[in-house]
């Protein structure tokens, strides 16, 4: 399956998958590629309508994240597959179409709405569990609240090049032995250089019962404490 998917060959999803995405509020993009009149008569909640003959010109409507789950539906699977081919060629690796289309959805008891559909695709990926957003991280490190500890888990040699002002350094490979240096009543926000060691530290601290988040991003810190963050 991974190789098939990588080649961009057709991928179908079941009604159960879409039901789960909707009921659990998991971010996704749902595209109804039927003509406008048909889509307005009945459609699946959250769908945006882009008729098949307009889809090729609609690339700029789609999200910047190429790993966004995109589910396409129509009435006929061969038409869904045509739409799939267009979107998949844009590089969206997690594109699939609803096998059986809207009829399969209705047959499984899925709810349909009537009226106007959304015109804009809004895709906000769900953050990885345990992570802190970049903007929030910047805000907190600008002035570290009294109940927060910024924990730098890089090696001491790396911290020589620069550390965030007010941060505490415990290399991740010493963390287990130095847990007594961290209080349980404060929120701990962990960072490293790329996010990998920070996630490792997050796992250790969470298991030890700490209130902890980690920065899942790359960060470069200068001598005076100023830094630059780039998304992974």
């Amino acid at each position: 399956m991974p190789e098939w998917k990588k080649q961009g060959y057709p991928v179908a999803s079941t009604v159960k998958y879409l039901q789960e995405l909707i009921s659990k509020d998991i971010p996704h993009v749902l595209v109804d590629v039927r003509p406008k009149q048909e889509a307005e008569k009945e459609h699946i909640k959250g769908a945006v309508n882009i008729p098949l003959d307009e889809l090729a010109k609609a690339k700029k409507l789609f999200p910047k994240q190429k790993n966004a789950p995109i589910i396409i539906y129509c009435t006929k699977d061969n038409l869904s597959q045509k739409a799939f081919d267009i979107v998949r060629k844009w590089g969206y690796i997690n594109t699939s179409y609803l096998e059986g289309g809207i009829d399969a959805w209705k047959k499984a008891g899925g709810e349909v709405l009537s009226g106007q559909l959304k015109k804009e695709i809004v895709y906000v990926p769900k953050p990885k569990p345990g992570t802190i957003g970049i903007e929030e991280f910047k805000k907190i490190t600008g002035k570290i609240p009294p109940n927060v500890i910024i924990l730098d888990v890089r090696d001491p040699e790396e911290t020589q090049m620069g550390m965030i002002k007010g941060a505490k350094n415990i290399p991740v490979n010493e963390l287990k032995d130095r847990l007594n240096e961290l209080p349980k009543d404060k929120e701990i926000i962990v960072h490293c250089a790329t996010g990998m060691r920070a996630e490792m530290a997050y796992n250790i601290l969470k298991e030890a019962g700490y209130n902890v988040k980690f920065l899942d991003a790359s960060i470069q810190i200068k001598k005076g404490g100023k830094y630059k963050i780039t998304e992974n």
Binding site: M1, P2, E3, W4, K5, Q7, Y9, P10, V11, A12, S13, T14, K16, Y17, E20, D77, Q81, N94, S96, Y97, E99, D155, P171, V172, N173, K176, D177, M196, R197, E199, M200, N203, I204, E207
Partner: protein, 193 residues
């Protein structure tokens, strides 16, 4: 010379045995050492001093690897750690990859002596279909295509027209197979695992 080497080996062996006993009495009683997914028929059982599960994180810089056996274990490694079935840097291992770690305990820390990456199952080459051939079969609808993965994976994305029979429950779904014993069938799952 020979006698001295034998004595040395015996000493090391006793040391390892003692450490294994300590580990089995202490650590392994608190957290599971083998992932539930490995409880399927034909899977191994983990011994003392071994952890079986899925890779969670690994850092070459910190020389640490975390494995999920149903609980989190953090194990250190170094240049003496042997790696089996993997010839790239450890941080190239895909997340969730099934691994087994043999470790010793020193000063309350676990040190990996062997990291064994689960190798691809050996399949008779004459029974393997390449992806290009698979596309032709799909286009021509010339074989029944069966997805052997759990339903959740199938639901998320599958080859259109394929049916889903999770391999662990294969015997319960014989009725889904064609009557004609000569009819061609192609099975797929999540890649070489």
């Amino acid at each position: 010379m020979g006698k001295k080497r034998n004595g040395l080996f015996l000493g090391v062996f006793i040391l390892f045995l003692a450490l294994a006993l300590v580990a089995s009495q202490g650590i392994s009683q608190q957290k599971p050492i083998i992932a539930k997914g490995c409880s399927l028929p034909g899977c191994h059982t983990a011994k003392a001093g071994e952890l079986w599960g899925n890779l969670k994180t690994v850092s070459g810089k910190a020389e640490m690897i975390q494995i999920d056996t149903g609980a989190l274990w953090t194990v250190k490694f170094d240049e003496n750690t042997k790696v089996k079935n993997w010839n790239q840097p450890l941080n190239k291992l895909p997340k969730e990859k099934e691994i087994a770690i043999t470790y010793v305990e020193k000063n309350g820390e676990l040190y990996a002596t062997l990291i064994n990456v689960k190798p691809p199952v050996a399949v008779d080459p004459s029974k393997v279909v390449k992806v290009a051939e698979m596309k032709r079969i799909y286009d021509e609808k010339s074989a029944l295509i069966i997805d052997c993965r759990p339903a959740g994976r199938y639901n998320e994305g599958h080859i259109p027209g394929s049916i889903n029979i999770w391999f662990a429950e294969f015997d319960k779904h014989i009725d889904k197979l064609p009557k004609d014993k000569n009819a061609p069938i192609v099975y797929y799952c999540q890649g070489p695992t």
